[in-house]
C-alpha cells in the first residue's frame, strides 16, 4: 500500500511533467537538436570512415622496415555521433532538468495544494519520493527519446551499431541521465527551501553557474596557488622533443611530450632537462589533482569526463593521463570507464546528496 501511494504521486507528477507546456517545448527543442546533431555526427563519421579506408590503403603501400611498421589505422567508432549530444546536454539538458524541478514543491506551497494533499492518507516521505520519482521518470523519458532519435537516424543511414556500441550508447544515456538528475536534484531542493518558485529558480541558476562555470576556474586557480612554484627550465638548450596538442572539445587542452624511439635506439637525454621534466610532471600532477578534486563538484565536468570515456575512450585516456604517451590502441569500454570511476561516482553522489537534503527539509517543513 505504501508503494501504491508513492506510485500514485509519481504517476501524477510524471503526467504533469510530460503534459506541461514548459516540458514539451524544451523537449521538442532537445529532440530537434538531437536529430540535427546526430546527422552532423554521421557526416563526421562518414568522413573519418573515408579517411580510415584511405589510410588502410596506404598502410599496404608503406616500407615494411620503416618506423610505422606494424601500425594499423583505427576504424572510427559510431559513438562519435554522440559527441554533439554531450555539448547540448550540458546546457539544454540542464535547463530541462531545472525547468521540471524548480517549482515542484514551492508551487504546491503557493497554491496551498500541499496542505490538501497532506490531509489525505499519505506520508510526507511518499510525497517527496513520488515527486522525485516522477521527475526522474520524465527526464528518463526525455533521454530515451533523444537516444531513440539518434539511433533512428543511424539506422536511416544504414549504420547498425554492434552489441558493444549499443551497450556504450546505453551507458552514455545512463551517464547523461545522472548529469540531468544532478540539476533536477538541485532544483528540487531549492524548490523545497524557497517559499516562492521565482526565488527557487534564481537560487538554482546561481548554483548552476557556480558549479558549471565558476568551479572549474576556481579549481584551476586553486591548482596554480596550491601546487607550489612552477619549476624553471634549465639554461641549456633542450634536446628535440615532440609535442602533441590534444583538443578535447574546447573544454581544456594539454600538451604531451614523448621520446620517440627509432629502431630501438633511444635519443640521449640531457640530465638537467630530465630533472626539469620530472619536476614539471610532479608539479603538473599536483595541479591536476587539485583541479580534478574541485571538478568533482561540477556535474558538467564529471559528465564531460565520463561521457568522453564512453564516446571517445582514446581521447579520454589522454585527458585522464595527459603526461603519459597516447595509447597505441583504443582502450576498451570497461577500461575507459574504470579510469573515470570517480567522476561516475560523483555523478551518483551529487544528486543523491541533494535528494537527501531535500528529503530532510521536506520532512521538517512547516506547512501552516
Amino acid at each position: 500500500m505504501a508503494f501504491d501511494r508513492l506510485l500514485n504521486v509519481a504517476k501524477k507528477e510524471f503526467s504533469d511533467h510530460i503534459t506541461s507546456r514548459r516540458f514539451v517545448i524544451i523537449l521538442g527543442l532537445l529532440l530537434v537538436i538531437s536529430a540535427v546533431g546526430a546527422h552532423a555526427g554521421i557526416e563526421s563519421y562518414n568522413n573519418l570512415l573515408e579517411s580510415y579506408n584511405q589510410q588502410l590503403q596506404h598502410v599496404q603501400d608503406i616500407d615494411v622496415s620503416g618506423p610505422y611498421t606494424g601500425w594499423m589505422p583505427e576504424k572510427p567508432s559510431i559513438l562519435l555521433i554522440l559527441s554533439p549530444m554531450m555539448s547540448y546536454m550540458t546546457t539544454l539538458g540542464a535547463v530541462l532538468a531545472i525547468a521540471i524541478g524548480f517549482d515542484l514543491v514551492s508551487k504546491e506551497k503557493e497554491t496551498r495544494s500541499l496542505k490538501s494533499l497532506l490531509s489525505h492518507p499519505v506520508y510526507r516521505d511518499e510525497i517527496i519520493n513520488g515527486k522525485a520519482l516522477g521527475g526522474i521518470a520524465a527526464l528518463g523519458f526525455a533521454m530515451v527519446l533523444a537516444l531513440a532519435i539518434s539511433l533512428a537516424i543511424l539506422l536511416l543511414f544504414s549504420i547498425v551499431p554492434t552489441l558493444t556500441e549499443f551497450a556504450a550508447i546505453l551507458i552514455f544515456g545512463a551517464v547523461t541521465l545522472g548529469f540531468l538528475l544532478a540539476y533536477f536534484a538541485i532544483a528540487l531542493m531549492m524548490s523545497t527551501i524557497a517559499k516562492e518558485s521565482g526565488n527557487a529558480l534564481i537560487y538554482t541558476m546561481v548554483i548552476f553557474f557556480a558549479v558549471s562555470t565558476l568551479l572549474p576556474v576556481l579549481g584551476a586557480v586553486a591548482g596554480e596557488a596550491l601546487a607550489g612554484d612552477r619549476p624553471e627550465p634549465p639554461q641549456t638548450a633542450p634536446l628535440p622533443k615532440e609535442v602533441i596538442w590534444v583538443d578535447n572539445g574546447g573544454y581544456s587542452s594539454t600538451s604531451v611530450s614523448q621520446s620517440v624511439v627509432y629502431e630501438g635506439k633511444a635519443v640521449e637525454v640531457d640530465p638537467a632537462w630530465q630533472q626539469y621534466e620530472d619536476d614539471m610532471r610532479a608539479y603538473s600532477e599536483r595541479r591536476m589533482l587539485i583541479s580534478s578534486v574541485t571538478n568533482l563538484f561540477s556535474p558538467q565536468m564529471n559528465y564531460f569526463t565520463a561521457a568522453m570515456a564512453v564516446t571517445n575512450p582514446r581521447i579520454a585516456t589522454v585527458i585522464h593521463s595527459p603526461l603519459d604517451s597516447m595509447p597505441a590502441e583504443t582502450p576498451g569500454l570497461a577500461e575507459a570507464l574504470s579510469q573515470v570511476w570517480m567522476n561516475i561516482a560523483a555523478l551518483i553522489v551529487f544528486p543523491s546528496a541533494f535528494f537527501a537534503a531535500t528529503y530532510v527539509k521536506f520532512m521538517r517543513m512547516d506547512i501552516r
Binding site: 495544494s113 496542505k115 490538501s116 490531509s119 499519505v122 501552516r368
Partner: protein, 329 residues
C-alpha cells in the same frame, strides 16, 4: 468475546462522554489531553484539554492567531504536538496519523488545488489514496460534485473563483465519507447562497451521525450550526459548552445577581421584595436586580395590582459583547 470487549470499551467511552452536553450514549470522538504546540519558544496551543462527542457539531471559536488552525493541524495529523496528545475515534493521532486520516475529512482555510487539473481529476487524485476502486471513485466524485454544484464544470481548478474552490474543498473533505469532518473557516469565501447551502449540508451530515468540528472566528457562523462551542484565546481553552453556557461563564461576575427585565403597560409601581437588590427604572420599564430568579412572585404582585405585563425575562449577557471582550484580551 471480542463483542464483549467492544461493548466494555464503548461503555467506558460513554463514561468519558458524560462531560459532553446532550451526549448520553454517544462516544467521545475527539479528545485532546494537555495538547501543546510551541513555535520558536512561543506556545501556539497551550495545554488544551477538549472532548467532543460523536455526532456533535462543535464550534471552535477564537480570534485570529488564537491557535485554532494549529490545533486542527495536530488533530488531522499534519503536525506533531510538542507535548500532550490528541485522539480521534480513540486513535492517537501522532502515533498513527494515517489511520486517522482515513476516517477524517479536512477542509483547510484557503484550500488549494492543482490548477492544471479539473475538479474531477483533483478529486480522483485524492481518492486514489483510499481503498476505493475505479467505479467507486467515479460514483463518489460524481455525487460530490453534484452536491457542491460543480458538476458539469469543465474549467481547470486554476481558473476557479475562491468560492468555487471552497466548494471543491468541501467535496475533497468528503471524498472518503469521513466519520469526522474538520472545517477551518468554511464560509470564508462563500456567497450568501453558498453559506446557506453549506449550513444545510452540515446539518444533514450531522444527522447522518458525523462529527463536525468547525473552526471559525465568526460567531454568527458558529452560532448558526454548532450545538456546542469551545473558545480559544492565546492557545488556551477559555470556555466550553453551549453558547449560553459559554457566555454566562465569560460574563463578568455581578455578585451572583439575576437581572430581570420588566415592562408593563401602565407605569411601574414600587416593587417590594426581600430579594430585590436594586431597580433601574425608566418609565414603565425597569431592570430588577435580585439575588434569585423572582419572576413568578413579581408577576403575581403586578397582576394583583391590576397591571398588564408586556415583557418579563431574565436578561442574558450579550454573547457578541462577551466574545468580543475575550477577543480583545
Amino acid at each position: 468475546m471480542r463483542d464483549t470487549e467492544n461493548i466494555n470499551k464503548r461503555m467506558s467511552k460513554s463514561a468519558v462522554s458524560a462531560t459532553v452536553p446532550g451526549c448520553i450514549w454517544k462516544c467521545t470522538m475527539i479528545q485532546t489531553e494537555n495538547l501543546t504546540k510551541i513555535y520558536n519558544g512561543n506556545p501556539a496551543v497551550d495545554g488544551l484539554d477538549l472532548v467532543v462527542g460523536e455526532g456533535e457539531i462543535f464550534g471552535f471559536l477564537g480570534p485570529n492567531g488564537a491557535g485554532k488552525s494549529t490545533t486542527i493541524l495536530m488533530l488531522t495529523g499534519m503536525i506533531e504536538p510538542t507535548a500532550g496528545r490528541c485522539l480521534v475515534d480513540e486513535i492517537e493521532v501522532a502515533k498513527d496519523p494515517l489511520a486517522v486520516k482515513k476516517i477524517i475529512g479536512y477542509l483547510p482555510e484557503d484550500v488549494g488545488f492543482y490548477g492544471n487539473l479539473t475538479a474531477e481529476q483533483n478529486l480522483d487524485y485524492f481518492a486514489r489514496f483510499y481503498d476505493m476502486g475505479a467505479k467507486e471513485r467515479k460514483a463518489r466524485i460524481e455525487e460530490l460534485l453534484e452536491l457542491v454544484h460543480l458538476d458539469g464544470v469543465t474549467q481547470k481548478a486554476g481558473e476557479y473563483s475562491r468560492g468555487m474552490k471552497q466548494r471543491l474543498g468541501l467535496a475533497q473533505a468528503l471524498i472518503n465519507d469521513p466519520k469526522v469532518l474538520f472545517l477551518d473557516e468554511p464560509t470564508a469565501n462563500l456567497d450568501p447562497e453558498g453559506v446557506r447551502e453549506y449550513r444545510d449540508l452540515i446539518l444533514a451530515l450531522a444527522a447522518e451521525g458525523k462529527t463536525i468540528f468547525v473552526s471559525s472566528h465568526i460567531l454568527s457562523e458558529v452560532r448558526a450550526v454548532c450545538r456546542t462551542v469551545g473558545l480559544l484565546a492565546k492557545g488556551k481553552l477559555v470556555a466550553k459548552g453551549t453558547l449560553g453556557e459559554v457566555a454566562r461563564t465569560l460574563t463578568p461576575s455581578d455578585e451572583d445577581v439575576v437581572r430581570i427585565v420588566v415592562e408593563t403597560r401602565e407605569r411601574l409601581p414600587d416593587l417590594d421584595d426581600p430579594e430585590i437588590v436594586a431597580i433601574e427604572r425608566n418609565g414603565n420599564r425597569a431592570v430588577v436586580r435580585a439575588t434569585s430568579d423572582i419572576r413568578d412572585r413579581l408577576a403575581a404582585t403586578l397582576f394583583e395590582q391590576g397591571l398588564h405585563i408586556r415583557e418579563m425575562r431574565v436578561e442574558e449577557p450579550d454573547i457578541e459583547d462577551v466574545f468580543m471582550a475575550v477577543y480583545r484580551r
